[in-house]
């Protein structure tokens, strides 16, 4: 049975037909063409499919599309500024060499958006915990932590002014 979902995706109002049994991951990838949202396990173990729903990072593979009525969904495709400028987190990922195969990258960036968006500062240990829902086999998390830490610091400096 097809239903119609009304929600906001990356700032734009969207109406899309979906199957009631469908996960948000499938709707975003297959119906809306938002292929930054990756599939690594489909059972909430790897974090590759992370997006923000009303500002909260969730695993879209275990989140039903049906729960998204009226919600605001954000994916990596929605992060660049109006003139295409990169979000500070994206910049930090490039500059800290936090990207390798890149398959985990969009998901971790979305968690970082949530972390930075909290406006709080965190210790390295706290950041380790905050990104521990993401599996990355390439980087040992070292440069990812550097990038997230840098984005948090930069944002804090700006906000703190």
């Amino acid at each position: 049975m097809m239903e119609i979902l009304h929600c906001t995706v990356n700032g734009k109002p969207v109406e899309v037909g979906y199957d009631l049994r469908e996960s948000l991951l499938d709707t975003l990838r297959d119906r809306l063409g938002l292929t930054s949202v990756k599939r690594g396990c489909e059972v909430g173990e790897c974090g590759a499919c992370t997006v923000l729903v009303d500002g909260v990072a969730i695993d879209s593979c275990i989140y039903l599309t049906a729960w998204c009525e009226g919600k605001h969904i954000l994916t990596v495709e929605g992060l660049q500024g109006e003139n295409g400028e990169l979000n500070p987190i994206q910049k930090a990922f490039i500059e800290e060499a936090a990207v390798q195969c890149g398959f985990c990258t969009p998901g971790i960036i979305m968690s970082a958006v949530e972390i930075v968006g909290s406006g709080k500062q965190y210790t390295r240990e706290e950041l380790r915990k905050l990104i521990s829902g993401h599996l990355c086999r390439c980087t040992g998390y070292q440069n990812i932590l550097n990038a997230v830490e840098r984005a948090v610091d930069e944002c804090h400096k700006i906000v703190g002014k």
Binding site: K38, E45, E77, R128
Partner: protein, 773 residues
């Protein structure tokens, strides 16, 4: 200098914006899906399959079974093909198997309009089996009377090799003679390593369709040109009828250096009129049906001279659990025993004895390090055991025995053209404050929480010569704006290949890296030939092809410039974005102007391109060391790594920042290998923890800060002084952690992983934990 610049990755922007396209991102709408039916026994034969109910499921397009596939056995590993039959890979699989050899064998496939229809149909297929006993360990499979898993190997031994190697110029004393000499102390150990998996975050996925009479396959692979060959072999068709496209891939680590499901998918499309079909494995299928690192069991012996601290002779018997299919065959355990021998060349002699044995567990294949992480763990445990018994400092003992510059392997001729190993050891020791900590932790410790510091070293070949062919090619094309396109058959798999290839090309021509546009994706119809990403070979072998093509391109540009300017060709050079006169030092023509002339001149239009192939008939050793400081909580068996550093000699670094990132990833994989990862099977051959929840892959919380240091040698055989880097970082970590635990607790562990359960058992046995009543 473009070599040695830490530029940002050329693919980073696409990857952080989500624009980078991986296999599944191209698929588009209306693609059929294929799902595989897996056996529910581990050893036996499919007698019959009833498809009546499955065919009735709405949305099912076609069901194909092991009774339908071509009667062709094909090889799967990503090796260069050998034209000599004796060196060809083992051809032991069919597209779908009637003869079941592992639990979860591929026995049928359902093609449907969507996943749900396919899943329903899979559940409705009824299978009748004839069952045989299940062999989970090599000893049982080799026992007399065991059922042959493959008829070609009645004793289940895929291969057994035994070599006695005498050190040249050492007087011809063999292993037995040396061991009989009463002047030497004898040591022996048994060491077990476990099966682990690559766990690339993107599961294997491909889609296939037909264009005319040809088959097109898009796949997440490290080796597109080899995929093309194996599809041709598996389907019994001309290799030119196959076109393989490789987009970005979400990690491979050796698992995608094997042609596992592309041939099946290519065949499926031929059975449904060439319609486009996708075959994507779930994470659980990836665990069960792809490859893993071999569990290898070692028995090692050494005769040691107490006076000189030298290893006089050693023996190494290795038994490798291959699982149900040959995959890379005997080459991995052969590499393991060779690697064990090479790092510390014995004064007189060495004997290696290696077995590859079929069992009914999941098949094992290439994984980052190709047998060396296993033998390194064995070898580095053994070195510390000997040092401890003899009262020697483990670092001093290693320094007395490591491979010297100029070493030539007596069996294969691989030569140590450069080494910074001793320097790596000293640098790591200084970073960790080894002398001080080693002395401090050597004082008696009595509490439940104890500390120690340990180390391990390794050597690693660069590429596969002379065991196999090494060849690569590169194409450079001038663009209208004076920039170039670089096209390769070598692949970016996350390691940063595209970035360092661009830097090498820029260096060879004399232009900035920003003016090199690399074609990232390989399409076997257009990409030059290269065997792909494995064996840490690409910067070395493909690097030579890039250098040669860049230099030949540069020569053509300068010829053209001399013609245009009427200047002496010998006085022209390319610097930055200009052709300059070496006499005046002034720019005489910009490359952009030159390019416009070359493209559009009415009198002398010439499209400047260069394409070169190299066959690399050389090899060289990369080296490194790992130091780890640990805290062991004895009652709960928990090992906490407090500090860790890897120090590498990979020759000259093309991009230091990316090299460092590569080392972090390898260290992480090494920590997982040391402390938590293990594929667990039951006695029916079923994998018990085939998912990312139960299989303990490290998270950010499981690691300390990862430190990567380098000692840059200038290797005379490398195209830019460089040598292997991709695989090595994963190698020495487990040994270093284990040796730190040995110092902390006095307990010598000989089995991986060192997870809390194992450690509590070991500490209990050693009397550090009281036995429960």
């Amino acid at each position: 200098m473009e070599i040695g610049r830490s530029i940002h990755r050329v693919d980073a922007l696409d990857k952080v914006t989500g624009r980078a396209k991986y296999t599944d991102d191209f698929r588009g709408q209306g693609v059929l899906v294929a799902r595989i039916l897996h056996s529910t026994i581990a050893n036996g034969v499919v007698k019959d399959m009833d498809l009546t109910e499955a065919r009735k499921v709405p949305g099912v397009v076609k069901i194909l079974t092991c009774f339908d596939v071509p009667d062709i056995q094909f090889p799967t590993p990503g090796h260069p093909w050998s034209v000599e039959a004796a060196h060809q890979d083992v051809a032991d699989r069919k597209l779908l198997a009637r003869r079941v050899r592992i639990y979860g064998e591929d026995i049928a496939v359902v093609v449907a309009e969507d996943e749900i229809a396919a899943e329903h149909a899979l559940k409705a297929i009824k299978v009748t089996y004839e069952e045989y006993p299940v062999y989970t360990d090599p000893e049982a499979a080799m026992a007399p009377g065991a059922v042959a898993i493959h008829d070609e190997h009645p004793d289940n031994i895929l291969r057994h090799t035994c070599f006695d190697v005498l050190t040249p110029g050492a007087g011809g004393r063999g292993v037995d003679e040396v061991f009989a000499d009463p002047a030497y102390r004898h040591f022996e150990a048994h060491i077990d390593t476990q099966a682990v998996q690559h766990c690339h975050i993107e599961n294997p996925v491909s889609y296939a369709w037909m264009e005319g009479e040809r088959i097109v396959v898009v796949s997440s692979t490290q080796i597109p040109h080899i995929v093309r060959r194996v599809i041709g072999q598996a389907l019994g068709i001309g290799w030119g009828k196959v076109r393989v496209i490789k987009p970005y891939i979400g990690g491979g680590f050796g698992n995608k250096q094997e042609v596992l499901y592309e041939p099946l998918n290519a065949w499926i499309t031929t059975q449904i009129g060439g319609r486009k079909v996708k075959l994507e494995l779930t994470r659980e299928e990836t665990f069960q049906n792809t490859r893993s690192r071999h569990a290898i069991h070692f028995d090692v012996k050494a005769a040691v001279d107490p006076a000189s601290m030298r290893l006089m002779a050693r023996t190494c018997r290795a038994v490798s659990n291959q699982g149900g299919y040959a995959s890379h065959g005997h080459s991995i355990v052969a590499n393991a025993v060779t690697g064990f021998r090479q790092t510390y060349p014995d004064a007189f002699a060495h004997r290696s004895d290696a077995y590859t044995v079929y069992t009914n567990l999941g098949s094992t294949g290439a994984m980052r390090g190709y047998g060396i992480p296993q033998c390194n763990f064995a070898g580095e445990c053994f070195m510390d055991d000997i040092a401890r018994e003899m009262g020697w400092d483990p670092m001093a003992f290693r320094l007395k025995n490591i491979m010297p510059l100029g070493y030539v392997d007596p069996t294969n001729g691989i030569t140590c053209h450069s080494t910074g190993l001793a320097e790596c050891i000293r640098k790591g020791a200084a970073f960790m404050d080894w002398d001080k900590l080693r002395a401090e932790y050597a004082k008696p410790q009595t509490g439940p929480v104890r500390r120690g510091i340990g180390m391990a070293v390794f050597s690693y070949k660069t590429g596969v010569w002379p065991i196999s062919l090494e060849t690569a090619s590169a194409r450079v094309i001038l663009n209208q704006d004076g920039t170039v396109q670089l096209q390769l058959g070598a692949t970016e798999i996350g390691q940063g290949g595209d970035t360092v290839f661009s830097q090498m090309c820029a260096q060879a021509i004399g232009i900035p890296t920003e003016d090199v546009h690399i074609v990232s994706f390989q399409d076997t119809d257009t990409a030059p030939f290269d065997t792909g990403a494995y064996a840490s070979r690409q910067t070395y072998v493909t690097g030579k092809a890039i250098k040669k093509a860049g230099e030949s391109f540069r020569a053509k540009v300068l010829d053209f410039a001399a013609g245009l300017t009427n200047l002496d060709r010998g006085n022209l050079d390319i610097r930055g974005r200009d052709v300059v006169s070496t006499v005046s030092g002034e720019a005489v023509l910009s490359l952009a102007d030159l390019a416009m002339e070359a493209f559009y001149s009415l009198s002398h239009c010439e499209h400047i391109t260069a394409e070169e192939t190299v066959q690399c008939k050389n090899n060289t050793f990369a080296f490194g060391a790992c130091f780890a400081e640990v805290e062991v909580d004895i009652p709960v068996g928990k090992i906490k790594v407090l500090r860790i550093v890897n120090v590498h000699d990979s020759g000259r670094l093309i991009n230091p920042k990316l090299a460092e990132a590569q080392v972090h990833g390898g260290m992480s994989m090494g920590l997982g290998y040391a402390l938590s990862e293990e594929m667990k099977y039951d006695d029916k051959g079923r994998l018990l923890n085939g998912n990312l929840l139960d299989y303990k892959l490290p998270t950010a919380m499981d690691h300390p800060e990862l430190h990567a240091l380098f000692v840059e040698t200038d290797d005379p055989s490398g195209p830019f002084g460089n040598k292997a880097l991709g695989e090595p970082p994963a190698i020495p970590v487990a040994g270093a952690v284990r040796n730190a635990v040995l110092q902390a607790t006095g307990v010598a562990i000989h089995r991986l992983p060192m997870n809390p359960q194992r450690m509590v058992e070991a500490f209990t046995e050693a009397g550090l934990i009281e036995k429960g009543e």
